[in-house]
Amino acid sequence: MSQSTNPTTQFQTDANRVTADVDRRSFLRSSLRGYQTTRDATQERFLNYESARIAAGDAKWEAIENLDVYLAQFADKLEARGATVHWCSDSAEARDAILDIIKKHDAKSVIKSKCMTTEEIHLNDLLEKEGFEVVESDLGEFIVQLRDEAPYHFVFPAMHLKKEEINTLFQEKLKSINTDDPEELTMVAREVLRQKYLSADIGISGANFGVAETGMISITENEGNARLTTSLPKVHIALMGIEKIIPRLEDLALMLPMLATAGTGQHLTCYNSQLGGPRQDDESDGPVEMHVVLLDNHRTRLLADPEQRDALRCIRCGACLNVCPIFKNVGGHTYGTTYQGPIGSVITPHLRGLKDWKHLSHSSSLCGACSETCPVKIDLHHHLLRNRRDAAGKGQGGLAERTLMLGFTIVMRRPWLYRLTGRLGKLGHVLTKPIHGTRIDPFYAWKKTRDLDDPAKQSFKQYWKSRK
């Protein structure tokens, strides 16, 4: 996953490795299957889940199609309540803004609750380089941080690890007791992190939603780490992509259950907190400063695409990863992106460039399981197709592919040529027999793992004629 390798090569290489690891794949599949089962049961309780999806999708459409109005309203309301809003066009601006705040407070330690957007701007690397202690407090994030790894799944960061591996890790890094028990392992992390909350100068969080009407961020979690991160340190910084906006407070009453159901299969996650500003005059605790850092980082480029701005409606539930046969078989790290799975394959080409990331749109069978499951009905798999179209339109498919497609068109428009090609194909099949199964066989990629039937002796057309 080093930066120097080209993302396509890295993807192919990592996919080779993971697909060959039958044991890990089956571990992944059974975890994801577990989420699916829980989720089905929760969905069953809805009076009408399909209609709820449409209504939830509508809330995000309204927000995205009026983003200028709602984002300005969100920022104004927050500032009126004493928070500071930082508008950042790209990663560098966001990193600078955050670093400035930390330095201004002469802070030493930073506690973080789960925030994929900080992964997007590579915040931890910067802060550590600057000499700050940065601790991830979400258990899964804490584990992957100790392993010096990226999150595997943007909702379940450590889902690829077995308890034995976590035991080894904790013994090595935390000098903990020898135990495979998930409860004991969790308690080890709890004890370590408790002290960090109390001593941290700065708490950094993300935001699942930004409520325009009231100027609040909403954070969804199960562990309580985000609540502690935003309660105890004297400064709270929230980093939020500009697309997280929803119009009204009451919209959360729909969006929060949808997020939980689609994401983890819970009817609601344990803590859903709305934070609007720092500690107010009549309040007894909470941070004395609240900073909300708004990040564009090419989201406006995606917004400018009248088809694919649809993808900005994503609420990052992770459901599309859980059902994706590609994700299930290559795992999260193979993507090499902040956002894995179908949604990552759709948006990464927009955020980081089509030329380098178009392979993610090709590495899909377009099965549509993602679109079928999305709680806000994003047209995910068709967007992958649209990325393919845009890449082909820019000639990024390469000369060989263009020639092949030209040939395809010429043949398919001329029935006589189509028939001739069929016959030549049969002839070719016979003539190439000596090289079948070798690397110079034109069907090598197929035949390496799959048989290919010999062409039928009689084409359907010949049969049709004989039948008459």
């Binding site: 992390a189 199960n222 709305q274 007894s284 605790d285 994003i378």
Partner: protein
């Protein structure tokens, strides 16, 4: 500077209308479905009409709250009077050997704990978080109980700040039956009414004790927040 630049880019991007076909997909379905009017009112209605049904009466709501609480491992106790709430708290004290208890200035909380033989820490004014961390339990009020989700809705006003309900290993909520509402939207409406737009800086739906399943999907309670959540509802 950046504000204008970003808002400018957004406006420019939105000057091209969303592709009609894509916009339509979000509404389509293979089933024939009831769809409510677009917009805010439709969505609030959706919470009632499409999300799980929990009945109309208080009895229905209590029953629904009970079922979900079991699943969440929330201890939900319905008692008839403040007196019985006091007794329940005293039993909990004995069972869990509470010595230090975090509380706040809240009428119902105060009247329930006034006879508890423990040391108190009040979080309604400046307090030391390290002291709160040493408490065995935090006892707070709430704004509403939500039947649809078995949540306690709290703000820093109704729950003694941000930390009382999350830092100690056990959180006890005391509520009365008039606080039971159907949906989260009803809960928001109550807070809207109470605070008249002068929103508290912290509003949270607490739904069960703190939990994680980050290690092999095994459920563990008390990841960072309370390992136990008790909700005592006084029915009279």
């Amino acid at each position: 500077m950046s504000r204008d630049a970003i808002l400018g880019r957004i406006r420019e991007a939105l000057s091209v209308k969303t592709d009609a076909h894509v916009r339509e997909v979000a509404k389509q379905s293979s089933h024939s479905l009831p769809v409510l009017a677009n917009g805010p009112d439709g969505r609030t209605q959706a919470v009632k009409e499409f999300l799980p049904f929990v009945g109309e009466s208080l009895e229905d709501h209590i029953a629904a709250f009970n079922v979900l609480s079991d699943k969440l491992q929330t201890e939900f106790i319905v008692v008839p009077t403040i007196d019985s709430a006091r007794q329940t708290l005293d039993q909990l004290r004995q069972k869990h050997q509470w010595e230090r208890v975090g509380i706040h200035d809240h009428e119902l909380v105060q009247s329930c704990v006034d006879q508890l033989p423990v040391e108190f820490l009040n979080t309604s004014s400046n307090y030391d978080a390290h002291e709160l961390e040493k408490c065995d339990v935090g006892i707070s009020g709430c704004d509403a109980l939500i039947a649809q989700t078995a949540s306690a809705l709290v703000t820093n006003h109704s729950a003694g700040g941000r930390a009382l309900s999350v830092l100690p290993p056990h959180h006890v909520v005391v509520a009365d039956a008039s606080q039971m509402v159907t949906t989260m939207a009803d809960g928001f409406a109550m807070i809207r009414e109470k605070h008249h737009e002068k929103w508290p800086s912290f509003i949270s739906f607490i739904t069960g004790p703190s939990r994680t399943a980050d290690i092999e999907r095994v459920l563990v309670l008390g990841a960072h927040g309370p390992k136990k959540l008790t909700i005592i509802m006084i029915s009279e």
